[in-house]
């Protein structure tokens, strides 16, 4: 019985073989070959597994020699020996024992030495003491902070403002509060170091466009648009930001804001504007680059500035619509995790704002002085002026570089020293050369303030000319 049945099955199988279509047979043949291959081929490389023995590990640990914590710094490193300022760093400044007129501090409106500002700060000191002993969340919010935020918002004509206790931390905290991993940020190549650090902390994709080159930015935006069409699902959650400075610290130029705003709406990217230099400088009332171009401040998503230049205090602020700004109260790292601004510094900033509001003419005076020295400095042999005539901080670069940055720095330092010996305090713009994204060429930074008289401006220009002649020729 059994054999008969088996035979029957066998016959059936053979029959099935005949009836099956050819492709089926070929496929099965390949599969069988594949199985054979799998069975006989080596599935893994035989490696000699060698766990280190305890002794070997100890030897490795014994052998390992770390690099020193920091590399040695040579004694004559140009940045090692700081200038020492004795007394206040105001209009008349004593640098390394020499009396000078200050052309180096960002005290544009001369408020550092202002009696009213000092009086306000003093009154605050007598009421609150110095420190706040806590972050904003934990009893570190003082009524003065609320006042200052209110005043800044009103001054800038925005819904809300938020203050930070350190200028650098302001934009560096604001950017990562919004822009996250996967988001795209379009940034001007000349952006300052604080912006660079903010971008790094955000871990977003960074696209650099050429300095003040709207066409280049549009090219990048268009490229991104094309990219987005390929992957619309991703594009729907990818935020886009354009980060620019109002007045560039590194170049002394104004950003082309009207064109940027057009691009913003065309490509739906939000604009973050860093106004540390332009706040309290540009515009009829000192509101910065938006006022300068007559652009509605609502078109800018976030404005950040520090209070360490025009306001001559310490700290920074961001302003914009509440929808945007309020988010930083829980997500701005430098806001949440840091002690709040000492009340006396906030009080000084409020008083400085008062003075700005009371004397809107001050901005015109500053502009005239900038234009005057700008003109006077044209045509110095060996030095070129970099920056726009309305910028109170601009650069003097060598027209002909020696080819080595080190040599250039040395030459410029000689010019600075020459001026310093003749009563004009100047400084080179300092950078961390290895860390900067696009390192600007070495330069002397000239800062104009309203306190400088016409005579002093002329004298500075004259001294610089002499110095250039003495050093470079």
């Amino acid at each position: 019985m059994a054999t008969a049945a088996e035979q029957w099955v066998l016959v059936e199988m053979v029959q099935a073989l005949y009836e099956a279509p050819a492709y089926h047979l070929i496929l099965e043949g390949i599969l069988i070959l594949w199985i054979i291959r799998l069975l006989f081929s080596k599935t893994y490389k035989l490696q000699e597994r060698s766990d280190l023995t305890l002794k070997e590990k100890e030897e490795l640990i014994e052998e390992w020699q770390p690099e020193p914590l920091v590399p040695p710094v040579s004694k004559d490193h140009p940045a090692l020996n700081y200038n020492v300022v004795s007394g206040p760093p105001s209009h008349n400044i004593v640098v390394n024992g020499k009396k000078c007129v200050n052309f180096a501090s960002f005290n544009f409106l001369g408020l550092l030495d202002n009696a009213r500002v000092k009086a306000a700060a003093l009154a605050s000191l007598k009421k609150y003491g110095v420190g706040t002993c806590g972050p904003r969340g934990f009893y570190g919010t003082f009524d003065v902070h609320l006042d200052l935020e209110d005043r800044l918002a009103k001054f800038m004509k925005t819904e809300e403002a938020i203050i930070y206790s350190y200028g650098f931390a302001t934009i560096a905290s604001a950017i990562p509060a919004y822009s996250k991993r996967g988001d795209i940020v379009f940034v001007d190549r000349a952006a300052c170091f604080a912006i660079q650090k903010g971008l790094q902390a955000s871990r977003s994709d960074i696209k650099w466009f050429r300095h003040n080159d709207v066409a280049d930015l549009e090219r990048l935006l268009r490229e991104q648009e094309a990219e987005d069409l390929k992957n619309p699902r991703k594009a729907r959650v990818t935020r886009r930001f354009i980060v620019v400075e109002g007045l560039y610290m590194n170049t002394g130029t104004v950003c082309p804001l009207p064109e940027l705003v057009k691009l913003k709406y065309k490509y739906k990217a939000r604009i973050f504007l860093e106004e540390s230099l332009s706040f309290g400088v540009l515009g009829e009332h000192g509101r910065g680059v938006t006022e300068h171009f007559g652009i509605s401040i609502d078109d800018i998503d976030l404005i950040s500035a520090n209070m360490e230049n025009s306001l001559a205090s310490v700290g920074g602020f961001c302003c914009g619509r509440s929808f945007v700004i309020d988010h930083q109260r829980l997500s701005g790292q430098g806001y949440c995790f840091s002690a709040s601004l000492p009340p006396l510094l906030a009080a000084a900033a409020i008083e400085a704002l008062n003075i700005m509001e009371e004397n809107p003419g001050i901005f015109l005076v500053l502009k005239e002085k900038c234009e005057r020295i700008h003109k006077a400095l044209q045509g110095i042999s060996g030095l070129k002026v970099v920056g726009e005539p309305l910028s109170p901080a601009f650069h003097l670069q060598l027209t002909d570089s020696t080819g080595s940055r080190e040599e250039d720095v040395k030459l410029l330092q000689e010019i600075v020293n020459h001026c310093m010996n003749r009563g004009i305090a100047l400084t080179q713009a300092r950078y961390l050369e290895k860390e900067e994204k696009c390192l600007p060429p070495p330069s002397i930074r000239v800062v104009v303030t309203v306190e400088q008289t016409d005579e002093e401006l002329e004298r500075a220009a004259r001294t610089l000319k002499e110095a250039a002649r003495a050093v470079l020729l």
């Binding site: 020492v84 002993c133 972050p135 904003r136 931390a169 306001l311 001559a312 988010h327 829980l330 995790f337």
Partner: protein, 561 residues
């Protein structure tokens, strides 16, 4: 719930890249490496592994969360989340009024600025108890403080100031450890004088033309205070970490960071570009394993040895109240040739017989710590931060610190406040005021901690730490505790997720030398009452104080119920 992730408080920052992290660390995690077994048994442990390294008893307790409490806490969050969804639903269909600010009309078609879940928590949990944070004050943040009364008519979405001032609230929240937050006295007078002479701003960076004689004076003083060769001061404590760590380490270097390190250390580590690995909080076995593996196996993929290894720890952890096991860390660092970065934000001034921080507390040599970092915000009642160490280190930072090149230097009156208060602590002002403050703080700390434990609260941390976390656990109790205490004229800090693990919400008291016995007793009495009211006395250990021992050696025997 959501604390204002304020201050140096949120010790639960985002985990950095490539961390060997430990997701479920909290449950039964061995806080005291010494007594792993004891911890597992859920006991409070008195420590003394490596007893030889410690010159004084090192008592740190982290009582385990009772199971029932943990379950109820999760249920609490569950209910809150359900209601959150419900209310979002109602808001979506305009049944409930929407209070939060919305996007401009012109930009409705932009990609949304926020992720949805990011705001769910804020909207539905944090908003309910938002009144416990950002309370504005209008006086010196001393032992007692005046708080501006505020009201909300729309469930905390907006606040209105009534114009009333709640006077004389006992301040248990400010980091005023030595009581230098004052508007009278020598510090204020000196600061006022400098203010009149210098003004408040500097308007330049240290490397350009913002290096005042005052700054140099301060740095010399800080160096001599710390007992190191040189020091450098910076304008912001947070930035001291985030802007200097990148100058010290970079690609090819390894950072070993305590899991509860402050956000500023995490940010600095991340900006540096070094590889970051996380060890369990204050757990020396975990640290040693990471050190050993790092040296033996080198960098992943490239197999090169690490260029250098930097250990990041803090003196006092501001959310746990624990003190770093510095003697063991130093022993490990020496054994494995790593470098040590010690953040003394909370411990400088507040610990040690002479107020020199955690190094002084353990009687160690400051030379053994490579980078001594700290802030002036807390014990010195000012603002800013410092780094101290060998001269080569400081020289390097003077040339390469981000802060020195790009950030405005410290305001002169603030510098003067630091100088005067530091001299006072050092006794250079010719008084013993500083010494008394240090002693007072130590006594206050022991007394306050002991009394709270006796009342049956679960208190975290080291018995010498002036940061005293009291466990609340449940989300509803966060708001209730903060409000009840304010009703009784005591200002406390309450924190929850994400500053703490989700079930470990807590209140935190910061003791001060300015607190008198009477103030502390008042506070304790009220805490006791509120503790009964809210049923916060979770501790299952009965502590029996041994009163016959001298004060500074008091230890407690505990017995299980």
């Amino acid at each position: 719930m959501r604390p204002e992730p304020g201050g140096c408080c949120c010790r639960r920052p985002l985990r950095a890249n490539g961390c060997v992290a430990n997701g479920e660390v909290r449950n039964g995690y061995v806080r005291s490496s010494a007594a792993a077994a004891a911890a597992a048994a859920g006991q409070i442990h008195h420590v003394t592994q490596n007893g030889g390294l410690y010159k004084r008893p090192f008592n740190e307790a982290f009582e385990e969360t009772p199971m029932l409490v943990a379950v109820l806490t999760y249920v609490g969050y569950g209910v809150l989340t359900l209601f959150g969804y419900l209310r979002d639903f109602l808001r979506h269909w305009r049944i409930e009024k929407c209070h939060h600010a919305t996007e401009r009309k012109e930009q409705q078609d932009f990609v949304s600025l926020y992720q949805d879940f990011e705001n769910f928590y804020t909207r539905n949990l944090y908003m309910r108890i938002r009144d416990n944070w950002n309370r504005p004050i209008c006086s010196v943040p001393g032992a007692r403080v005046d708080i501006m009364e505020r009201q909300s008519h729309d469930y905390n979405w907006s606040f209105k100031y009534t114009g009333n001032i709640i006077k004389g609230v006992i301040n248990m929240g400010s980091y005023n450890y030595l009581g230098f937050a004052r508007n009278t006295g020598s510090c204020q007078e000196a600061a006022a004088k400098v203010l009149e002479e210098y003004g408040v701003g500097v308007c330049s960076t240290r490397q350009e033309i913002g290096n005042l004689d005052k700054h140099e004076e301060l740095e010399k003083l800080v160096a001599s205070f710390l007992g190191v060769e040189a020091a450098m001061a910076y304008g912001m404590g947070f930035a001291t970490n985030s802007m200097n760590i990148p100058a010290l380490v970079g690609k090819g270097c390894l950072i070993l960071s305590d899991e509860l390190n402050h956000a500023s250390l995490v940010l600095g580590a991340r900006l540096s570009g070094a590889t970051i690995r996380i060890f369990k909080h204050n757990n020396m076995q975990s640290l040693e394993k990471l050190l050993k593996d790092a040296i033996v196996y080198g960098q992943p993929r490239t197999r090169r040895p690490w260029k250098k290894i930097l250990i990041l720890v803090e003196g006092i952890y501001s959310m746990e109240g624990s003190i770093v096991r510095l003697p063991e860390v130093i022993a490990l660092k020496k054994k494995y040739k790593a470098y040590l970065y010690l953040d003394e934000a909370h411990s400088i001034g507040a610990l040690g017989p002479t107020g020199r921080g955690v190094v002084d507390y353990f009687g160690l040599d400051p030379q053994d710590v490579d980078v001594m970092m700290g802030t002036f915000t807390k014990s010195f009642g000012a603002s800013g931060g410092y780094i101290g160490g060998k001269k080569e280190l400081i020289d390097y930072l003077r040339t390469h610190s981000h802060s020195a090149v790009y950030a405005t230097s410290l305001s002169p009156p603030v510098v003067e406040q630091i100088v005067t208060s530091m001299k006072c602590i050092m006794g250079q002002d010719g008084t013993t005021l500083g010494k008394e403050c240090i002693q007072q703080l130590a006594e206050n700390t022991r007394y306050f901690r002991r009394r709270l434990k006796e009342m049956g609260f679960i208190i975290y941390g080291n018995e010498d730490s002036p940061v005293v976390p009291l466990m609340l656990y449940m989300p509803a109790k966060i708001g209730a505790f903060g409000r009840e205490m304010l009703k009784r004229n005591i200002g406390v800090v309450v924190v929850g997720f994400p500053a703490t693990p989700i079930i470990e919400s807590r209140a935190r008291f910061c003791l001060s030398a300015a607190h008198t016995k009477e103030i502390l007793d008042t506070a304790l009495k009220e805490i006791d009452e509120v503790g009964d009211l809210l049923q916060l006395k979770y501790s299952r250990h009965r502590l029996v104080p041994l009163l016959d021992r001298p004060f500074d050696e008091t230890t407690y025997e505990e017995t299980e119920d």
